[in-house]
């Protein structure tokens, strides 16, 4: 008797979200099978990797990653271009940390202006994360969306306390929303229900189920994402069928294992190689759990993960 690969029967489908307008439009989601299960269903769009760009000079980055970016720290536009041209970014993730009043003094209007400048300069879709309190994030995103009307950027993040403002900003100016939940399938669903009931179409929502780094509870993230995907595909639960984004880089690059020198921990080996592997393994874990968009930092980790995706899909 011939061996038959056992197959899942899927009833659901992940929504397809379009990021960017015109020539630079990229589709994410759309799969009808669990991650990389190409033998069971369609995976029309590969997961994409966005590289981070900050609105100000970042502090405390380890040398192993700092060296790739320090020449462009003072110019987010150049920085974004470098990520695309040299490091193969498929999207740019602008981290507006200076809009957090505890960190910087960037006003919502300035943040919106910067976002517009970066967006106009690049040939790839743009993702924007705010910072600080939920109220602050909402205020900034209102301006960001307004300044970047009809460009299908992805703005975030929305939670229970600020979802109305964020959704209104996205609906009014035709942009997409990141819906964040704290590793909780129920809360993810609740937020999606709230957003869609305000009138935001489901295919304008990307879920961020919160991310962690390898060795720092990543298995919880894995489990939450896995359950979201199973509900979406096997149970056809419409309120879990949004593509998933993992804002991975800020989590990975703060852990001890990618920062401590080889002199201090000789048994850990070369710092840069260690960092690259740490980020790449974290990224692959998230991809296998169901991520559609990864936000990453180290150029070598990016190319390594891209290579693996290419092999697998």
């Amino acid at each position: 008797m011939e061996f038959q690969v056992p197959k899942n029967e899927y009833t659901g489908k992940i929504n397809t979200v379009k990021l960017g307008k015109g020539d630079l439009e990229v589709k994410v989601g759309g799969e009808t099978a669990l991650p990389f299960h190409t033998f069971e269903g369609e995976i029309p769009n590969k997961p994409i990797i966005a590289i981070e760009v900050y609105d100000s000079r970042p502090k405390g980055w380890p040398e192993s990653v700092d060296k790739y970016y320090r020449d462009v720290y003072d110019d987010p536009v150049k920085w974004a271009k470098k990520c695309i041209d040299e490091f193969g970014a498929e999207a740019i993730c602008l981290q507006l940390v200076s809009t957090n009043p505890d960190v910087g003094d960037m006003k919502p209007e300035e943040a919106a202006e910067l976002t517009k400048k970066v967006r106009e300069a690049i040939s790839k879709p743009l993702i924007v994360y705010g910072a600080g309190s939920l109220e602050n994030v909402a205020e900034v995103m209102k301006k960001v969306s307004e300044k970047n009307a009809d460009t299908s950027i992805l703005i975030g993040w929305a939670e229970e306390e600020n979802y109305k403002t964020i959704a209104a900003a996205a609906m009014g100016y035709n942009n997409n929303v990141i819906a964040l939940n704290p590793l909780d399938v129920n809360i993810a669903k609740q937020l999606n229900i709230l957003l869609t009931q305000l009138g935001l179409p489901p295919d304008r929502i990307v879920m961020d189920p919160s991310t962690s780094s390898l060795g720092y509870g990543i298995e919880y993230c894995y489990s939450a994402m896995e359950r979201l995907r199973i509900a979406a595909l096997l149970q056809d639960d419409k309120m879990t069928q949004m593509p998933i984004i993992c804002n991975l880089a800020p989590e990975v690059w703060k852990v001890k294992e990618v920062r401590e020198s080889e002199e201090r921990y000789p048994e850990w080996g070369d710092l840069e190689e260690r960092g690259v592997n740490w980020e790449a393994i974290s990224a692959m874990s998230m991809l296998i759990a169901g991520a559609d968009i990864l936000v990453m930092r180290h150029p070598k980790a990016v190319s390594l993960v891209k290579e693996i995706i290419k092999e697998l899909l």
Binding site: E160, N186, I187, K189, Q190, I193, Q197
Partner: protein, 651 residues
């Protein structure tokens, strides 16, 4: 010599006073003075209910902006449990904090005829009144030189001949009076015998009235209910009820257990409840005219903590992992042994519980519903201070406790009160103006809002778009009954002008949050319990709801908020207090009492506090009606049609 300084406190409006040491806790002083004060946290400073007003003098206290606004603080309002006395004082104990006195008879102590209206009338009429305690006249043989056996032997022989009980046990306290009683009326005696346990309970000289009466008691966390019963025909001669006086030491069982671990705490808790029972028994006797000596038995039901406290057994391990009781059934005791006065001849029997959080009140309730004798699949739901469920039929039963908390009895809700006169029990909201219309128990001005009213208000607010699915107020709908006090958003249900307290009656976002948690726990409990046995809500043939809140409960709104499963409303039945009914049935029939023991043994207990699925569903329940909208199809339909009618989506 140092004279220790003392301070003098006068309380208004009662004019009671007390002298205490400096730095004494103000709330304790109020309690010491014999005044009642509301408190659900037992004096931990977390419930904000024991607010009083300092008219004269000073106390040392901290700021509690959550409970006392700046303006109130300036006017001398303090949290009494967190205040230390620093001088002579005049203190006003406001109306709101004082416990409302007696509960009306009709309120909680419903007559069984009414309790049985919905369910097993047939069963009730067929119950064979056959208590296990009987009174019998006996003629005991005289001793002689040729028949020189002991008094005890000859008494036992007479009992055997007359009642068929061999080797009847005669306790020492009866032995002590035995020789005199036997000889007093020429070897004629009236014996009271526990046939089941083959024990002599009482012996009286001569042929006295053989009428037997019993008392059924339910010791609830919130209320005590007693029936005085004629054991010959099952008639209920009198009913008495009162708030559990332990409330002042903590509103829920956890706070009471904590209090019991303090020095003399357990004794204090036992004393107050026994004292209260004694005065209620006295009322029963006065009301019915029954001779105290003819009361032969008492059956007590209550949750495990209440039973421990009543029997004076330390309950502390009920709240420590892995949550075990000292006993699920307490030994048969004389009234005297448990501190019950007036009815010295009676024996006290306890109903049997299942586990720490599934007590004998639930076993008693299951007995009352008769579900353990029927094929139909029944869900029994006791919405007391905790929220317990049992599902099953004559073949099997499973039960759990979902720790819903006292929100539906008014706990943790600022304007929440119990279902007494002055409580708002029904609420409607005008769709255009958002003005509330209310119905008040007793018909007077409202003082607060009780469980059924709270369920109504949440349901109405959700249906009319006042709150969103997360229970947050919609601020953009032009609702002019919303106001913000110290950062807390409130929806005014009754204006200050129209309330009995002179303060407005409102519901805040924090209150809604507490109620959402309670309703989430109940539904999560139901779902988890059913899934344990691979069933779903549609498999249920009926749902019985017991508890003080049940009577006024609007099932439709309880479904709208996702507390009860979205199934045919005709499957729901209200039963009132089933715990006392079960105790009552046991009092009347040995068979019923034995059945209750069988029920307690039969119920498989599921511990939800360590159940991951329960936690998952609980979080899913913090949403209106529920995160899985498919679970509430008729509610979704209703919302959809209401939105269409309105022509816009407000949520």
């Amino acid at each position: 010599m140092n004279r220790v300084k003392k301070y003098f406190i006068k309380f208004l409006p009662s004019n009671k006073s007390i002298t205490i040491d400096p730095n004494y806790n103000l709330r304790q002083a109020i309690l010491d003075c014999g005044l009642d004060i509301d408190s659900s946290c037992g004096g931990a400073g977390t419930c904000g209910r024991c607010v009083v007003q300092i008219i004269e003098g000073t106390v040392e206290t901290k700021d509690f902006p959550k409970f006392i606004s700046k303006k109130e603080k300036e006017n001398g309002f303090v949290l009494s449990c967190q205040a230390r006395v620093k001088s002579d004082l005049v203190v006003y104990v406001p109306e709101r904090v004082k416990q409302k006195g007696k509960i009306e008879k009709g309120e909680l102590g419903e007559r069984p005829s009414k309790i049985y209206a919905g369910i097993s009338k047939r069963e009730f009429s067929s119950i064979e009144v056959k208590p296990w305690i009987v009174k019998e006249w006996l003629k005991v043989e005289k001793p002689s030189f040729s028949y020189g056996t002991s008094d005890l032997f000859r008494l036992q022989k007479a009992i055997k001949e007359s009642l068929g009980i061999e080797d009847c046990v005669v306790p020492i306290h009866i032995m002590r009076i035995l020789p005199n009683v036997l000889r007093e009326k020429n070897w004629t005696v009236t014996v009271t015998v526990d046939k089941w346990n083959r024990t002599l309970i009482d012996i009286q000289a001569g042929e006295v009235d053989r009428k037997c009466y019993g008392i059924a008691i339910d010791i609830g966390t919130t209320t005590l209910v007693l029936y005085l019963v004629d054991l010959e025909n099952g008639d209920i001669l009198s009913v008495a009820s009162e708030y559990n006086p332990q409330i002042k030491f903590g509103e829920d069982i956890i706070n009471r257990i904590v209090y019991s671990t303090r020095k003399e705490g357990l004794n204090k808790l036992r004393e107050v409840v026994v004292d209260c029972l004694n005065s209620l028994i006295w009322n029963l006797l006065l009301d019915s005219g029954v001779d105290p000596d003819s009361i032969v038995s008492v059956v007590v039901a209550g949750n495990s903590t209440m039973m421990h406290l009543f029997y004076g057994v330390p309950p502390r391990y009920i709240r420590e992992e892995p949550y075990v009781t000292v006993a699920n059934r307490f030994p048969n005791s004389t009234a005297e042994e448990v501190g019950i006065k007036h009815i010295r001849n009676a024996m006290v029997y306890s109903m049997k519980g299942v586990a720490s959080y599934l007590g004998s009140d639930i076993t008693s309730g299951v007995l009352a519903t008769d579900m353990a004798c029927q094929k139909e699949l029944t869900l029994f739901l006791d919405l007391g201070t905790n929220g317990e469920l049992v599902v099953g039929n004559s073949e099997w039963m499973m039960g759990c406790s979902c720790s819903a908390g006292p929100a539906f009895e008014g706990g943790g809700v600022k304007c929440g009160i119990r279902a007494v006169d002055g409580a708002i029990e029904k609420v409607w909201i005008d769709e255009e103006t958002y003005k509330c219309e209310v119905e008040v128990i007793g018909g007077g001005k409202p003082r607060g809002i009780c469980g059924s009213g709270l369920i109504d208000i949440i349901g109405e607010m959700y249906l009319k778009g006042v709150i969103d699915r997360k229970g947050k107020f919609n601020r953009d709908i032009g609702n002019r009954y919303l106001e913000c006090v110290d950062g807390d958003l409130r929806y005014i249900i009754v204006d200050a002008r129209d309330s009995a307290t002179g303060k407005s009656i409102f519901i805040s976002e924090v209150d809604i949050n507490n109620l959402m948690r309670a309703k989430a726990a109940i539904y999560a409990g139901i779902k988890t319990l059913l899934e344990e046995v691979d069933l779903n809500v549609y498999d249920l043939d009926r749902i019985y709801i017991a508890g003080g809140l049940g009577k006024h409960l609007n099932i439709r709104n309880a479904i709208v908020i996702g507390m009860l499963p979205d199934i045919d409303i005709s499957k729901y039945h209200f039963l009132g207090n089933t715990s006392v009914t079960g105790a009552y049935l046991s009092l009347l029939s040995e068979e019923k009492y034995k059945k209750s023991l069988e029920i307690a043994n039969k119920i498989t207990y599921i511990e939800l506090s360590v159940n991951m699925k329960f936690m998952d569903r609980y979080v899913a329940g913090l949403f209106l009606p529920y995160t899985d909208l498919k679970d509430f199809p008729t509610v979704e339909e209703l919302i959809y049609s209401m939105n269409n009618l309105r022509g816009r989506d407000r949520r």
